[in-house]
């Protein structure tokens, strides 16, 4: 393999910043725990998105200060949150009616593995980590668009983008976009189509370093993010 001088530096913030650009005013969005939660910090000025939390609310607001923590008001990760003016609460069946019924425009989830067929594995490493799927399977199966958010590489150096997931799947062929700290990929015809890349990386570097079939879109551009 050709040695490249380019050095990868993990950058979660650029992933969150870029994903936030998908959203338009009025979109209903569910953000998963971890990296996806960061996306809320970067919604572009002028766009008003409605955040849904599967434990039973729409209109999720920022964390309260320590004096205003309410034991009855948490997000799906059990962190104290606030409700925006006009937001509301509902039970878990209604919450998953919203999710499964196609009323969520975007769901953003973390990744253990994502493959070029749009399969996602993010809930289980057999024998090691079995936290349970929580709401992830419903979110991925039911949301209009699914965005997988992940750093491009595992600690071992192989890419989290695969030809075929080896881990148990969260859902089959449901992922629409993958945003990593190298670029933005659309899943089309069983390939990762690179549509945008982040400096200082190049499409050639990304194709070379990804353990899957990556096609560079004819409209692929350097991100201005």
């Amino acid at each position: 393999m050709r040695e490249t001088a380019m050095e990868y530096v993990e950058n979660k913030e650029i992933i969150a910043r870029r994903i936030a650009r998908f959203f338009k005013t009025g979109n209903v969005v569910n953000l998963g725990i971890g990296l996806p939660t960061l996306v809320a910090n970067f919604v572009p000025a002028g766009e008003t998105v409605i955040l849904q939390s599967e434990n039973g609310l729409i209109g999720l607001g920022p964390a309260p200060d320590a004096d205003h923590v309410d034991k009855d008001l948490i997000n799906a990760g059990a962190q104290p949150v606030t409700l925006q003016v006009g937001g509301c609460y509902f039970d878990s069946a209604t919450s998953f009616g919203i999710i499964r019924g196609g009323h969520v425009d975007f769901t953003v989830l973390g990744v253990l593995e994502v493959d070029q067929e749009g399969n996602l594995a993010n809930y289980k490493i057999p024998g090691k980590l079995v936290p349970g799927m929580g709401g992830a399977m419903d979110l991925v199966a039911g949301s209009k668009k699914v965005i997988a958010a992940t750093t491009h590489f595992e600690k071992s150096g192989s890419s989290k983008l695969k030809r075929r997931c080896a881990l148990p799947l969260t859902a089959q062929k449901e992922v629409d976009y993958v945003v990593t700290d190298l670029g933005v990929f659309e899943i089309k015809n069983n390939t990762f189509v690179l549509t945008e890349y982040f400096a200082p990386y190049t499409p050639e570097y990304i194709v070379e370093k990804t353990d899957a079939d990556v096609v560079v879109s004819e409209h692929c551009k350097l991100s201005d993010i």
Binding site: S53, E54, N55, G56, L57, D70, K71, D72, L73, I74, A76, G77, A78, L83, Y89, F90, D91, S92, A93, S95, F96, I99, R100, N119, V130, P131, G132, M133, G134, G135, A136, M137, D138, A141, G142, P168, L169, T170, A171, Q172, K173
Partner: protein, 223 residues
């Protein structure tokens, strides 16, 4: 309206008999009936099957725990049917040691199975879990070009709920995200006990603002 018996947490814990299927409201401990759970712990309840969103939060480093977590630590459950165990490492330990059966169910499927039990449905078709381990052993149906799994209702012997307010007839109002599975479980179990933070006279709740109608509630415990 008929007033329901007001009982102590200890009496509630006696109504939960060993071997029962127990639905417990709450999401990571938010909206769980903590006093009844404490009484169950003191009674030494055993061999229960838990239906709950999760096994709540237990941090072995700090000892902090909430919701049903103390009952998990006391090995009160022989089986748990939940969507998530990642915030309670003791659940995974007991599962790996073969001390407890853990059935992981997608959260929306779990909610709907409980709802179906309470609403007299024989089951429902969901796209969730198709192409994953969740589909193992389940009937599949093709409808309008999409594949669905048949999921079955999940009834319980007894429900332990948490409400913000109850009137003495058992009409319930929940608080914020502490609502979660509580109103679904109220309809899905033979016996329903609610632990309410505030118990008020019949007629003092606005009928338009009641989340769970009184007919589902059998006993009331003061939180």
């Amino acid at each position: 309206m008929i007033a329901k018996p007001m009982i102590s947490p200890q009496k509630a814990a006696e109504l939960v008999q060993d071997g029962m299927v127990v639905h417990v409201g709450g999401f990571l401990g938010c909206g769980s009936p903590e006093r009844i759970i404490q009484a169950l712990l003191e009674r030494g309840a055993k061999n229960l099957t838990l239906v709950c969103n999760d096994t709540a939060v237990y941090d072995p480093k700090t000892g902090r725990k909430n919701g049903v977590a103390p009952l998990v630590l006391a090995k009160a459950f022989s089986r748990v049917i939940v969507s998530h165990i990642g915030t309670n490492p003791e659940t995974q330990r007991q599962m790996n040691a073969g001390e407890m059966i853990v059935d992981l169910v997608p959260q929306g499927t779990l909610a709907e199975r409980i709802r179906a039990a309470g609403c007299g449905l024989g089951g429902f078709l969901t796209p969730t879990g198709v192409g994953t381990e969740v589909e193992n052993g389940k009937q599949k149906f093709e409808m309008n070009g999409r594949t669905y799994l048949l999921e079955l209702p999940l009834k319980g012997n007894i429900a332990l709920l948490k409400a913000r307010k109850a009137d003495k007839a058992g009409n319930l109002v929940y608080s914020k995200t502490a609502r979660n599975f509580n109103p679904l479980m109220a309809m899905a179990c033979d016996i329903v006990i609610v632990e309410a933070e505030e118990i008020v006279e019949i007629g003092s709740l606005d009928p338009d603002q009641i989340h769970t109608p009184s007919i589902f509630v059998d006993y009331i415990v003061q939180a």
